[in-house]
Symmetry: C2
Subunit: 223 residues, 2 copies
DNA sequence: AAAAAAATTTAGATTAATCTAAAAATATTT
DNA sequence: AAATATTTTTAGATTAATCTAAATTTTTTT
């Protein structure tokens, strides 16, 4: 049933899964190459291999999409990744900007039992430290509704539930500004000129650029 | 300073380290091949590579030994392995016969910070679930004195401190008999004919074969 | 609908890790 | 000290993952 895949194969599946969410449909060779910092010709080779293993559907020049089996594998790796991130933050006191690269390694540890034990140990978390949903053991992913803070309306109150950019720099910037998952903010003013926002958070008023606001995903609290 | 090694290279270093303890000196190509279930010709190739990286000393036909740098790397992998085994048993409720293969994967996760955090989280354990010492962060390994129960004397009392065979079957057998690390036993009788032992443990009297007694390492408690 | 540009695939190499079979060196036995 | 056996190395292939450069297909522009 489940054959053993190399780390590389697993990373390709994960990349295709991640890109599929945006493109809705099939994913292009060049996009995969970009995502994995490799060359399009390498991608073509790997795609053929994954197609042979029935993990992706592939027609020359037409892009790829995950099969049910491929998606299942990809989701299970994402589940591992996010559970390990929770472990690192909650149990080993890592900061949220320090865990991604370690999780990239840990996600490939191949054991369903381990994953389930870890899940239980962490008390079945639903989201990782960056607000991303943790797929359940059947591969279902709870999709919370959210919108970029950039689309917010003045005077309304929002809860920060996810970050769309998990780069060290962005996360450290948020720390510095006191912005974190779960915090409540109110939009005071939006500058027409550059779309920067004046927001109120923890009773302090701060300014954030449009770029930052685009990467903060929020849920409305009060009209 | 520390280059990145492949899992394979790390496994060779670990194998050489482990074999060095018994042979006291240099390790032969065939022994390494046996240990790693590979062929002598493959070992020769890899040894050359490790020698180029200054991780082993090697002279054709004369066997290999670890350099200081090679030993340091090997010990750090062993440290990881044993810390992860403790984690799996203490925190995730795995049994001592279920953790080795997972630790074989986890030991290669490459992060000093992770290792130190894990060590702290586990409250600085000194031994793994099989009684093997956990090297400290400087690579020092505490060597407790112990002897095989097979060498024990009648009437004396011993504490079980380590197992010399960590195979699933042996560990499960010990579970079944109620034999575990830390337990105290008294040797009642040794059968001259086959060297089997009659021992008293937890107020029950049980019989164990010489083969079992050879793989139970004990420390004397009372004359 | 041609021409030009962009995306994708193929052809041919390279590197790591492995293997089998043969050659060479070392160790053991007579 | 020869002969034999064992161990170790070399030679030559193979497989996975990658690359560059060239060829092909698709898309976009004119
Ligand atoms: Mn991550
Ligand atoms: Mn995350
Ligand atoms: Mn082990
Ligand atoms: Mn152990």
């Amino acid at each position: 049933m489940l054959e053993t895949l190399s780390f590389t194969e697993e990373n390709y599946l994960k990349a295709i899964f991640s890109l599929s969410k945006k493109t809705e449909g099939s994913v292009s060779t060049n996009h995969i190459a970009d995502k994995l910092s490799t060359k399009p010709s390498s991608v073509t080779d790997m795609i053929k291999k994954l197609a042979d293993k029935m993990l992706v559907d592939y027609k020359k020049y037409q892009g790829v999409s995950l099969t049910r089996k491929g998606r299942k594998t990809a989701v299970s790796i994402v589940r591992n990744h996010r559970l390990w991130e929770v472990f690192l933050v909650e149990k080993l006191n890592f900061k949220w900007d320090e865990v991604h690269d370690l999780a990239e390694q840990l996600e490939h540890i191949n054991s369903d039992v381990l994953t389930e034990r870890l899940d239980a140990f962490l008390d079945y978390p639903t989201h990782d430290p960056h607000g991303d949903p943790i797929p359940d053991k059947n591969g279902n992913i709870e999709q919370r509704k959210s919108e970029p803070l950039a689309n917010s309306e003045i005077g309304k109150q929002y809860e920060i539930i996810r970050v769309d950019d998990s780069s060290d720099n962005f996360l450290k910037y948020l720390d510095k500004k006191g912005i974190a998952i779960g915090k409540i903010l109110t939009v005071i003013h939006k500058e027409i000129f550059d779309n920067s926002l004046e927001i109120n958070i923890d009773k302090k008023q701060i300014l954030i650029t449009e770029e930052v606001a685009k990467n903060l995903l929020v849920r409305i609290k009060k009209q």
